[in-house]
Symmetry: C2
Subunit: 99 residues, 2 copies
């Protein structure tokens, strides 16, 4: 039996799942790139990034060295682990649904 309780609530929310999937794909997304890739409003994206940061899954990095300050986002080690566990449950659901 699949343990649906293992689906982390923080990750399961659709917008956050989309952010986590992008961040898992490659490191160092800028806010603007995330925003245009996901088609989310500034406020919405900020809210969900904060929730993910609050859970310890995402960290932001400020780079003030260039002419413009640039903020990038990436998964933390616990974020990568939690996402992997989440994906394992999804995989079990897909397997159960496609016998």
């Amino acid at each position: 039996m699949i343990d649906f309780d293992q689906l982390d609530k923080v990750i399961h929310e659709k917008a956050r799942l989309s952010i986590m999937t992008l961040l898992a794909g490659h490191d160092d997304w800028s806010f603007q790139d995330l925003k245009s890739e996901l088609g989310m409003s500034d406020g919405n994206l900020i809210t969900h990034l904060r929730i993910l940061a609050g859970a310890g899954f995402v960290e932001e990095e400020r780079d003030d060295s260039g002419s413009r300050p640039r903020t990038t986002y990436k998964l933390t080690k616990p974020g990568r682990k939690a996402f992997k566990e989440y994906i394992d449950v999804l995989e079990a659901i897909v397997r159960a649904a496609k016998p």
Copy 2:
């Protein structure tokens, strides 16, 4: 890019996802079997089954022929289609996450 908006809200909720996964596996679950398999309370299970029925994804069937009336639940045709589409998105997420 994965279309996260395609993740049907009715199905994406954890409890309903667990119900849909069971119903997709085989037909005709009794209320008691669903309840014991999922470890949900009567009220919780009834609420989510009603939402799934309201979306047209699940139908109930009453059988009063035996000594005890028996109610069973199964996916409707649109329910099966919606679940398949949902699972297709999950599969795309799993693929993206496990390159």
